[in-house]
C-alpha cells in the first residue's frame, strides 16, 4: 500500500487489535491459520501487523492438555511462515509453535511467562502470543479460515 510509514503503522496498530492469527490444535505441529476476532473470515488483509494467538477449539485441551509453560521468542527476531518460533509445554511435552506468517516480532505477551494458562483460557484476548510486523502480506491469502480448518481437523480425527 502506498502509505506513509507512520500512517501505515498507526492504521495497522488499530487493525491488529481486531485481527488475530489463530492457531489450532495441530498448529503446534503443523501450522496456523488466520482469523479475525470474531467472526472468523478469510480475506486479503492489507494490514502489516498481525497478532498470533492460540485457541482452545477443536479438542486442543484433549490433544495437548493444559499449557504450563510458553517459550517466547525475543522481540526483534524474524519469523518465517511454517517455521517454529517458540514452544509450549503441556503434560510432559514441549511442542513447537509454528508461525503462519513471515516478519519481525515486535512484541511478545510477557504475561504468558507467569500465566501460561491464558493460552487455553483466553485465546482470542489475553492469550495472544506475539505481534508480528508482516514482511509479505501476500502470505495471508494462503491460510485457511476457521471453518476450513475445523473441517480439516475433523478429517484428521476421523483417520
Amino acid at each position: 500500500m502506498a502509505m506513509a510509514a507512520s500512517s501505515r503503522l498507526l492504521w495497522a496498530s488499530r487493525a491488529a487489535a481486531y485481527l488475530r492469527i489463530s492457531t489450532f490444535p495441530r498448529a503446534f505441529s503443523t501450522g496456523m491459520c488466520l482469523s479475525p476476532s470474531p467472526p472468523c473470515r478469510r480475506g486479503s488483509y492489507s494490514t502489516r501487523f498481525a497478532l498470533l494467538n492460540s485457541v482452545p477449539s477443536f479438542g486442543f485441551q484433549d490433544h495437548l492438555g493444559d499449557v504450563v509453560y510458553v517459550e517466547l521468542p525475543e522481540v526483534g527476531i524474524s519469523v518465517s511462515q511454517g517455521k517454529n518460533f517458540g514452544a509450549v509445554e503441556s503434560v510432559k511435552a514441549t511442542s513447537d509453535i509454528n508461525s503462519p506468517v513471515s516478519g519481525e516480532v515486535i512484541e511478545v505477551n510477557e504475561k504468558l511467562s507467569e500465566e501460561p494458562g491464558l493460552v487455553n483460557a483466553s485465546p482470542y484476548d489475553k492469550g495472544w502470543i506475539i505481534k508480528v510486523k508482516l514482511s509479505d502480506s501476500g502470505e495471508l491469502s494462503s491460510l485457511m479460515d476457521e471453518e476450513k480448518y475445523s473441517k480439516f481437523c475433523e478429517e484428521e480425527d476421523n483417520h
Binding site: 503443523t30 510432559k92 511435552a93 513447537d96 507467569e114 483417520h159
Partner: protein, 273 residues
Amino acid sequence: MSVTGSAGARGAARPLMRLVTMSGAPILRQLHLEERLLRRTADNWCVINDGTAPPTIVMGVSGRVSELVEIEPVLRDRVPVVRRYSGGGTVIVDQGTVFVTIICDKSAVAGLQPFPRDIMSWSGQLYGKVFDRFGEFHLRENDYAFSHRKFGGNAQSITKNRWVHHTSFLWDYDVENMDYLKIPKRAPEYRLARNHTEFLCRMKEYMPSRSVFTDGVITALGEQFSVQPTDLETVLSNDEEFVPSTKLLSQQDLEEIVSSKGSSSLGVQEVEA
C-alpha cells in the same frame, strides 16, 4: 519419511528405524544428539544409552532451579545441572539409569497422532511387550510402573513433522542422590504422598540383566519397524550450524540463583524426583 525397511507380517512394510547404542555417555551429549536427530534428520531413530556419567541433574524445559534443586549441596559437590529440550520433571541420573529414546516422523506409526497422550499411550503398549513377563507393568499417568511403583519417567518433544519420546529407566539408583532434589510440589496422583523408596522401584529386582531389557526393547520395536543398527560415527556430522537448546547450567548460573534468593525467569512447572 524414512525409506521403507522391510516387509513384516502380512506383507506390510515396516518403516526403517536406525538404532544407536551407547554405554556411559554423558547425558548432555546424549540430549544434544537427540536434538540433532530430531531437527536435522528425516529418519526414525532409537537411541539407547546404558548408564551415564557423571551423575547429573536433568530438568525439563521450564524447570526452575531454585524450586527443584537443593542448590547448596549441588554447588558443594559440583553436581552438573542440565535443562533439557523436552518437557516434564526433574531427575538425577547416573550409571544405574538406562535411557531409551524414540524419535519418529509423524507418519511412522500408522494411526498415531503426534500428540502427547497419544504417543504416551502408544509407548505404554510398546513397553508392555517388554515388561509384562517380568512384573505387573502399567503406564500410570505418565510413568512406567510395576504395580504402583515407578521405574521409568517420560518426556516428549514434538515438532511440526516429528516427535521424540524419551525415557529414563531406573535399572538401579542411589537413594542418597535423591537428597539433591527437592520434594516435588506436584506429583502424580498415584504417588499418594509416598517417599522416594516407597514410590520408586529398581528394575534389577524384576529382570535378570540390562541386556535382557535392551534386547527386549529392540525386539518390541522390531514388530513395528525394521530396526537397523547404526554406527554413532556415521550419525555425527559436521553440522556446526545447529545449536541445541539443551544447556548445562554453569556454576555461575547456580551461584547467582543462590545469591539472588529468587527464582529464574522461567515459570515453575510440574516436577518429580
